[in-house]
């Protein structure tokens, strides 16, 4: 391979200018190696992006993005109407928003929780994680936080749209800000609960379709059962039972906590009965979150390296 430009060392141009790629050989890495906190955060960010299909194929972006759009659409319509009609209040309170769109939230967690965890189980990718400094508990923490974050984005985005629209319509600032904060607190709790339930079910099966079906079924059946119990108790005049019936579904559960904490009006048939009821709702919420996190830790203790 003699080049026509002259072969003597003095007359030849430097090899790089001739467009020849030389194998520069193996180079050692001498830079920093960051600790487990960094890797956990990196996994969290990657999983959170993955829950919206970012950094994945176009096909995996479609579904979460459509759901995100559906979730935000009513908020956009409300904002447009309020601004056009110069209304003095929002027709929908911030803490009530998720109740109206609970089916969308349920479908989102059903679709994306398996995407977040069963993918690594199905394709046996776990050994690649476990053979790295990250520990099993770090993996669970990152995935739980990522799924919660993804849910929070879904639940909080329409509230932020409502808030921006309300300010644009010059609605009272303090009242709107308080409403938004209450709504965000409820959204955060609901995000934790839905992420927990969704991940526990998804982590049980490496098969994605099964996970999706199982989560949708569990959530919608819970909503139906809670609604039925509350409805029957209410018609029979037992409002205490009607109130506690709300414990059976995540959406009415969070609604009850909001009623107790912020004094909002309930969106369910009946709110939690009294302070005791409110306390019970709050404790059950915490138990669901802690319980699902504990179950996930147990589940991943059993995941094998090969």
């Amino acid at each position: 391979m003699t080049s026509p430009a002259g072969t003597t060392p003095s007359g030849g141009r430097p090899p790089a200018e001739q467009g020849v790629i030389y194998d520069i050989g193996y180079r050692n890495y001498t830079g920093p190696r960051l600790g487990r906190r960094h890797t956990t955060r990196a996994l969290l960010v990657e999983s959170l992006r993955g829950a919206y299909g970012l950094g994945r194929s176009t096909r995996s972006k479609v579904f979460p993005m459509i759901l995100f759009a559906i979730m935000c659409a009513p908020a956009v319509v409300i904002v447009a109407v309020v601004n056009a009609t110069h209304a003095h209040t929002l027709p929908l309170a911030y803490p009530s928003y998720f109740t109206q769109l609970q089916v969308v939230a349920a479908i989102y967690v059903a679709a994306q929780a398996p995407q977040t965890v069963s993918r690594d189980l199905r394709f046996h990718t776990m050994p690649l994680y476990l053979s790295r400094p990250l520990r099993r508990n770090d993996y669970v923490l990152a995935k739980f936080a990522a799924m919660t974050g993804a849910m929070l984005v879904l639940l909080a985005a329409p509230l932020v749209i409502l808030y921006a629209g309300a300010l644009l319509a010059r609605l009272p600032l303090w009242e709107q800000t308080r409403g938004l904060l209450q709504g965000l607190a409820g959204a955060a709790l609901l995000a934790l609960i839905l992420a927990g339930i969704g991940l526990v079910i998804a982590a049980l099966t490496p098969r994605r379709g099964l996970g999706v079906a199982a989560i949708v079924t569990v959530l919608l059946v819970a909503v139906a059962v809670a609604g039925a119990v509350q409805g029957i108790a209410h018609t029979q005049g037992n409002d205490t039972l009607a109130g506690y019936g709300g414990l059976l579904a995540p959406f009415t559960l969070v609604d009850g906590v909001q009623v107790w904490l912020f004094g909002t009006t309930t969106n369910a048939v009946a709110g939690p009965p009294g302070t005791t009821g409110g306390l019970v709702f709050a404790l059950v919420s915490l138990a669901v979150v802690a319980g699902s996190y504990g179950l996930l830790l147990l589940r991943y203790r059993k995941v094998s390296v090969s």
């Binding site: 193996y26 830079g31 960094h38 990657e46 994945r56 046996h124 400094p133 090969s306």
Partner: protein, 325 residues
């Protein structure tokens, strides 16, 4: 052996209920490329899990890079790469995305992870295809991705579990060549497992054989080769007569196992089944070649080949070469 031990175990025992996967394994492995040989179920994968600090041993001790596996698992895994035996790649991401992500999981900052990913994929021989989803890759390409993710954080040691599994002969050669390069050019110590004895000896500096969790042997391949040489002699006919003639000349001869002849070419079935045509001749010195030449000429048979070969791992089991009966 002056080399520093990258892996050292002492009386390492692992029991699962009534099953003993590792039974008092005591072995020191030097830097360089080490082959870990054993049949399926011999305890190779169990040993790897213990070395990664992911499985607490029932008793005994193990150190990797001078770190105790029981207490410094995270630190070990930061400096060790692991290539699992089975398929472990998600099909919906590209090799670049996956390897860069796993580099970050090993603690590399984002920019360094991207640079190392590009470098490492090039070193294992993945070029344009690295921007395509892994689902469309051939087995050979997938094995390269698995190898790249084990190397991307520049470990001091890589544990390769059956890297040639599922590859065709050309793919095996490529993979073994890569394993050798990792040890020599990259300066990374390698522990490579295999159940194929003849396969790894060519690329290993050191070979450890375990069976049913018990150490059978641990020795440098150079030692083995130096102790005795052997000559494979294949003739068209009358191999028994040739053997007799050579033995009279003072060298030891035995019939060679036609399946173990390391030429890569499959032995012709009728020959393998029928008359003896391949002999293994002890190579004492240069005069052995002349002896074979003269003997073949005296008998007037055709000499198909005469080939110097390294001692095979199989001989470690067989012990002393025996004279033909």
């Amino acid at each position: 052996m002056a080399a520093v031990a990258v892996i050292a175990t002492s009386a390492l025992t692992m029991r699962f209920g009534h099953v003993t996967a590792l039974d008092g394994l005591t072995v020191d492995l030097p830097t360089g490329v080490t082959g870990l040989i054993g049949a399926n179920g011999a305890g190779k994968s169990t040993l790897i899990k213990i070395l990664l600090g992911l499985l607490p041993a029932s008793s005994g001790r193990a150190e990797v890079l001078g770190l105790d596996v029981g207490t410094a698992g995270s630190q070990i895994r930061e400096r060790v790469g692991y290539m699992p035996e089975h398929d472990c790649l998600p099909p919906d991401v590209t090799a670049t995305e996956l390897v860069a992500h796993l580099a970050r999981m090993s603690g590399l900052p984002a920019t360094a992870a991207r640079e190392r990913t590009a470098d490492t994929l090039r070193h294992v021989g993945l070029y344009e295809e690295r921007y395509r989803p892994i689902g469309g890759y051939s087995t050979g390409m997938k094995q390269r991705v698995k190898l790249a993710q084990a190397l991307v954080h520049d470990p001091a040691l890589v544990l390769l579990d059956e890297p040639t599994n599922g590859l065709d002969p050309a793919g095996r050669e490529d993979m073994l060549g890569l394993v050798r390069r990792i040890g020599t050019d990259f300066g990374i110590s390698v522990l490579v497992t295999s159940h194929l004895l003849g396969e790894v000896e060519r690329v290993c500096d050191h070979v450890v054989v375990i069976d049913a969790g018990v150490l059978l042997s641990s020795s440098a391949t150079a030692d083995v080769t130096a102790v005795s040489g052997a000559l494979t002699v294949e003739v068209t006919e009358r191999a028994s007569d040739l053997a007799a003639l050579l033995q009279r000349g003072g060298v030891r001869v035995r019939p060679a196992d036609p399946h173990a002849v390391g030429t890569g070419a499959a032995p012709a079935p009728e020959r393998a089944a029928g008359a003896l045509t391949v002999l293994e001749v002890e190579l004492r010195d240069e005069t052995t070649y002349d002896l074979v030449r003269d003997a073949v000429a005296d008998l007037g048979v055709g000499l198909v080949r005469m080939q110097r070969r390294r001692h095979r791992i199989a001989d470690l089991f067989a012990g002393e070469p025996e004279s033909p009966a």
